[in-house]
């Protein structure tokens, strides 16, 4: 009954059931539109709103102020209010600029990112195209097209700040594509597939089977990718295209209203997309869901309700992990100062690029010589049995996985402890300010 | 790789590491440190070799004799060609081969090297080439150890050449001395002559067999298969291997041993090699490298034909006789020792030739100990005597250097075969087997001359005792003949400590119960036989069958064997064996006593008695003949060198008159021809070229007109033509279709 491999996407099945007859064309088109309208549009809007709210909240807390807190509970509806304001704002178009291109630019910037969502794996079935065998690469392609919108925007504004911003963006984007792609290749090489869903399903099994812990090279590639993705997304500290202290607002200078908002939707969606890639490739997007999913798929008695539940759970885990990455991106934005453009390019060409090359080579050799141990402890193998552990000569691979896992967990714990301590500290400082101790002379 | 082989491999590589380190940093390390680095390296090797021996002895006991040999061939040069009858594997291999013999040799080399290193730290202390010396020593240790663990003849050859190189470098260590650099060159060249023979033998072997791994070679060319098949050996998959080819091959390989072990025709380099520093003489030219020739013969023993063995034996007996006689009269301390070394090597080679495999190798080991001791002792003396080597300047040194004198004396006792010293066991074994060989020849009705192979060694045993005693007496006994030397003489701890160790070894080296060298060697025979039998079960392996048993008949330790012997009827060879031991006991028993006694009597008062004897003319003549080393150098100089130089002069003359004349003639002819061609060029060719140039210019002016330099015009024209062409084609096609 649940022959998922034969059937189409989850959405199709959701609409048309699991029967063998295929829907007609008109229905198909309508269905596609409905999926986009019902699922992706709201998703993107909500995502953008939550991200904007989150960013402002993060910024506020990092600067020791509350952030948005008036509109709605915790200021949650602040984004909605902002949106309303944007819609109502006058839509200005510069007189001397290329008016047609000026109008076109936000859509050019937004559309590719939106298309990239097609391949994002929300769940084992919960993705628009399950069988996209070069899905990861397609996402990358879409992200690389996005920059064209920024360039058009900058040029058509007929404004020197905008043009500078666009040039910087072009420069930065073209350069950072390379380490981005290289570091992704390292992860892909470890996963052995470009299919985003497959690579997610393969990672399930425990903390040590996460993609990032597969080998030291993937572990480093994770960070290379993170830095490169920040730059490719023109996120701080690499936000030179819109650096407000130098270029007013860069390519955004002449924009206002809804067009301006579109750029922001594009940016936050792109953040989600790169975060999603990171989660899918490195951070085990589905947790243990993959294991149960495989069991349910193989079980002839399995019920589709179980599949729906699993997919929803997977989506929750995935969005949570991508959200964590986004949170780190925000955190960095409000922490690090902005480098000069030559420093940015130096980091790309002389640091990240060689690192990427070395990691690629290292991972290739690692793949050749060190067997990988996947699977779930106590299910696929008994971790307490030495013979079982050593089966297939995986001791080295497993040992490295575990060691890297400890390093990773240690880092996260350290950060959490550090942040927690600072938070407590801040509270005590606040308290001290509120009730100053008596000065004893 | 099994543990012993791995340990030995590491032990081999340690000196190489030390060599590299010393090459790079030796000069910076300076005087004491460089030596200690090299010593540490060889000490590590020694420790590893002991570990290897322990792990070897602790191996599986099911073979009775200890272990299975470890054979680790390493494919090196693929030579899968089609020439030759057939190639078996098509690889020229390197590799390791570890059996009991390897273990013993390896430990011995490591131990002697270690002691020589320690000694050298003292001996070379004031030399400015100190780091370089230890660099070479490390390289030598690596090479020698590599040779000992070598599992294929190819590896043996490679390291063979390496030790030759080290020998060259170390003989010429004081290259600013003309005699030293001459000696180095001489050693190198003479060795090359032998090595050519080795290479020829190796070539014959590889050509026929396509394999150089020791067990494979043994199995394929097992000499026992020759018995009853006079035309040769049939090797599976290869065809007939004729007796002549086998003998040529065996003698060729033996030529290498002749060169390296300085046997009779090529012995001239070894005495000259004494120009090198004395520790080098002890290590290379007494204990290890020169013994490598014997080692090689031991390794190829199973494939030597009777003819080849006879050659070996004759070379050996010639050398031992000749060298001992020359040693009688030399006055340079190191020269005496060098000729004594030659003589002892002759014993070993003779042993190999007459089938005393165990005896030869046994003597190699014991000889290494006492000869290293003798050389180190002489080194101590020379060091004490301001690098004075002539015994005429010594005398009475025992008062100044008692430890050295005692150690040297022990070594003398050992080499003379005094009972219960190490040389006694090994030398007697060889001579017993020589007697057995003679007896066997008599029984088989062959010529009585075979007995010479027994008689000469026995006589030389007496001579040996005499000249070694002479050496000791002249050096240590009597009155000091040079007060200056005597005053200066002293001893140093770092130099007599190795002597002491070696002295102990010289005493105990021969006992079965202590080092059990003989046991190891017997085990080597058994286990190699069993190993080849296991790898090639198709035929019975009898490569070592022509070797005599090492134990005296009737003295067998196991009572069961004795019972068997009692009831059994003796075969011809058993009877010969028994007789050999018998005649040996009869003849050699008094050699140490007689020789030493005569030596003491004669040299009690220094040169006094000798000088009296020299007054008789025949004695003087013989003395001069022997003192000039039987005029071998002059002979070689007069024959080979003169021929070479003459040929070279002839070539030069031919070059000067014939070749140069032709060249000059050709030059003249070319000049005349070219002046003719010049005329032709000026009028015919130039005219044509100028005409073409003018024509080209005119054409160019015409062609440059449409070339506007505008790229778009070009593209337009090209595309226009294409468009017109396509339009034409379409029109034609449509027209024909319609």
């Amino acid at each position: 009954m649940l022959s998922m491999a034969e059937a189409g996407t989850f959405f199709e099945q959701l609409f048309f059931g699991w029967g063998s007859e295929r829907p007609g064309a008109v229905v198909s088109v309508i269905y596609g539109m409905i999926v986009v309208v019902v699922f992706f549009m709201p998703f993107v809007s909500v995502l953008g709103m939550i991200c904007i709210w989150g960013e402002r909240k993060v910024a506020g807390h990092m600067q020791n102020r509350p952030g948005p807190n008036r509109v709605g509970p915790f200021g949650l509806l602040q984004s909605l209010a902002d949106g309303a304001k944007c819609v109502m704002k006058e839509d200005l178009v510069p007189e001397l600029g290329d008016r047609a291109l000026f109008r076109l630019a936000p859509y050019v910037a937004f559309a590719p990112v939106f298309v990239a969502l097609v391949a994002i794996p929300f769940g084992p079935e919960l993705t628009f195209e399950r069988h996209l065998n070069s899905g990861l690469f397609l996402i990358l392609a879409m992200l690389s097209v996005e920059v064209m919108g920024v360039i058009i925007a900058g040029w058509s504004s007929h404004n020197k700040w905008s043009t500078f911003g666009a040039m910087r963006e072009a420069c930065q984007m073209v350069s950072y594509e390379i380490p981005l792609g290289l570091s992704l290749l390292v992860g892909v090489m470890a996963a052995g597939t470009l299919n985003v869903v497959d690579m997610g399903l393969e990672q399930g099994g425990g903390l040590h089977t996460w993609g990032i812990f597969r080998s030291p090279f993937v572990f480093l590639a994770f960070f290379v990718y993170f830095v490169a993705s920040l730059a490719a997304n023109k996120r701080a500290p690499f936000d030179l295209a819109e650096s407000d202290s130098e270029l007013v607002a860069g390519y955004l200078t002449e924009y206002s209203g809804m067009r301006w908002a579109f750029f922001f939707f594009a940016e936050y969606t792109a953040m989600f997309v790169v975060g999603g890639i990171q989660a899918a490739l490195f951070l085990d997007p589905f947790g243990l869901i993959g294991y149960y999913h495989n069991q349910l798929s193989a079980d002839p008695q399995g019920h589709w309700v179980g599949m729906v539940v699993l997919n929803v759970m997977a989506a929750t885990i995935f969005i949570g992990k991508a959200g964590a990455v986004i949170l780190v991106q925000m955190w960095l934005r409000w922490t690090l100062p902005r480098p000069r453009i030559d420093q940015v390019l130096y980091v790309c060409v002389k640091v990240l690029l060689p690192m990427g090359c070395v990691l690629l080579l290292g991972e290739a050799l690692w793949q050749l010589f060190v067997p990988w141990r996947g699977g779930i402890p106590w299910k696929d193998y008994n971790p307490l049995s030495w013979g079982d552990l050593m089966k297939g000569g995986t001791a080295v691979g497993l040992g490295v996985q575990l060691a890297l896992m400890m390093v990773g967990v240690g880092m996260v714990v350290a950060v959490v402890v550090w942040v927690g301590r600072s938070a407590l500290d801040a509270k005590s400082v606040k308290k001290r300010r509120a009730e100053p101790e008596a000065i004893v002379v | 790789m099994p543990t012993p082989a791995l340990l030995l491999l590491i032990a081999t590589l340690v000196p190489l590491v030390s060599f590299v380190v010393l090459v790079l940093l030796g000069k910076r390390m300076g005087n004491p440190l460089a030596g200690w680095v090299a010593t540490g390296a060889i000490g590590t090797s020694f420790a590893l070799s002991i570990l290897a021996a322990i792990s070897w002895l602790g191996g599986s006991p099911e073979w009775g004799c200890g272990n299975m040999p470890i054979n680790v061939p390493i494919p090196w040069v693929p030579t899968g060609w089609g020439i030759g009858p057939q190639t078996k594997t098509g690889y020229l291999d390197l590799g390791l081969y570890v059996d009991s013999l390897t273990i013993v040799m390896f430990s011995m080399v490591c131990l002697v090297s270690l002691l020589v290193h320690v000694f050298s730290i003292g001996y070379m202390g004031e030399d400015k080439g100190y780091p370089r010396f230890f660099t070479y020593l490390s390289l030598f240790c690596f090479s020698m150890l590599g040779l000992v663990v070598g599992g294929t003849l190819m590896q043996l050859f490679v390291f063979w050449e390496l030790v030759g190189l080290c020998s060259y470098l170390l003989i010429g260590f004081w290259h600013e001395k003309k005699s030293a650099s001459n000696a180095a060159i001489k050693a190198f060249v003479v060795n090359r002559i032998g090595d050519v023979g080795f290479l020829i033998g190796l070539g014959v072997l590889f050509y026929h067999l396509g394999n150089v791994t020791l067990p494979e070679v043994w199995a394929a060319l097992d000499s026992s298969k020759l018995i009853g098949s006079p035309e040769g050996i049939r090797v599976a998959g290869i065809g007939m291997f004729s007796v002549r080819a086998l003998t040529v091959m065996g003698v060729g390989l033996f030529c290498g041993a002749i060169g390296k072990s300085a046997q009779f025709p090529l012995h001239v380099w070894l005495p000259d090699a004494m120009e090198g520093p004395t520790p080098v003489s002890a290590l290379i030219h007494a204990a290890t490298m020169v013994a490598a020739g014997v080692y090689l013969v031991a390794r190829i023993f199973p494939i030597l034909t009777d003819g080849a063995k006879l050659v070996v034996a004759i070379i050996g007996v010639t050398t031992l006789t000749m060298a001992a006689l020359i040693a009688l009269v030399q006055s340079d301390l190191k020269k005496v020792l060098a000729y004594s070394t030659l003589s002892q090597l002759g014993y070993m080679i003779l042993a190999m030739g007459i089938g005393s495999w165990v005896g030869g190798m046994f003597h190699l080991i014991t000889h290494a100990f006492f000869k290293a001791l003798l050389f180190l002792g002489s080194g101590a003396v020379i060091y004490a005597a301001h690098h004075e080597q002539d015994m005429k300047e010594y005398g009475g040194l025992w008062r100044k250097m008692p430890i050295t004198a005692i150690a040297f004396g022990i070594a003398v006792l050992a080499i003379t075969g005094t009972p219960y010293f190490s040389g006694y066991f090994s030398k007697d074994l060889i001579m017993a087997h020589a007697g057995a060989f003679g007896a066997l020849a008599s029984e088989e009705g062959r010529s009585g001359w075979y007995w010479l192979l027994f008689v000469l060694p026995v006589v030389i045993a007496y001579v040996t005792a005499f000249y070694m005693t002479r050496c000791w007496m002249l050096t240590f006994w009597g009155k000091p003949r040079n007060e200056h030397v005597f005053e200066h003489a002293h001893e140093r701890g770092i130099m007599w400590a190795p002597l002491a160790v070696l002295a102990v070894l010289s005493v105990v080296g021969g006992y079965d119960g202590l080092l059990n060298v003989k046991g190891f060697l017997n085990a080597a025979v058994t286990e190699n036989t069993k190993y080849v039998q296991m790898v090639h079960p198709e035929g019975k392996f009898g490569g070592y069958e022509s070797a005599w048993p090492s134990d005296e008949p009737g003295l067998s330790r196991s009572g069961e064997d004795e019972d068997h012997g009692a009831t059994e009827v003796l075969t011809a060879s058993q009877a010969a064996h028994k007789q050999g031991w018998h005649v040996m006991h009869q003849s050699v028993r008094w050699a140490p006593l007689v020789g030493i006694g005569m030596g003491i009597l004669m040299y009690m008062r220094g040169y006094a008695v000798a000088n009296v004897l020299m007054k008789a003319a025949p004695v003087r003549w013989v003395h001069t003949w022997l003192y000039r080393r039987m005029y071998f150098d002059e002979l070689y100089m007069g024959v080979f060198v003169a021929i070479t130089v003459g040929l070279a002069r002839l070539g030069a003359a031919f070059d000067q008159y014939v070749i140069d004349g032709l060249v000059n003639l050709a030059g003249y002819a070319v000049r005349q021809l070219s002046s003719l061609a010049g005329l032709c060029d000026r009028y015919v060719v130039d005219g044509g070229v100028n005409g073409v140039g003018a024509a080209t210019q005119g054409l160019g002016a015409l062609v440059r007109m449409p070339q506007t330099g505008r790229i778009r015009l070009y593209v337009t024209v090209v595309l226009g033509i294409v468009a017109i062409g396509i339009a034409a084609v379409v029109v034609v096609v449509v027209a024909t279709v319609m």
């Binding site: - | 007109m705 330099g709 778009r712």
Partner: protein, 114 residues
Amino acid sequence: MVMGVMEIGLAHYLVLGAVLLVCGLVTILTKRNAIGILIGVELVLNAANINLVAFNRYSHGVSEGGGVALAGQVFAIFVIVLAAAEAAVALSIFLNFYNNFTSVDVEKAKELRG
């Protein structure tokens, strides 16, 4: 031949390729801006690529290993890569040209006139 309007066959792709080719050629012929010409060249290359891929996909070729033949796609990738290389070199040449003539008008580049 069964090739209706609604059934896409090889010829459709080839016609599209022809259209792109001609557009590229016209671009090359009419533009005086060197970069414009470069853009035209890219169009021409794309037209070629469409043909390569379409032939590859419609020819149902089977490679030696038994899988689907990939020659067309592989060479399309090569074309794309070479186009990138060509663009890089061309642009650096244009920059030099611009440096010498302060313009990228190809009409000014006629120093090679014979």
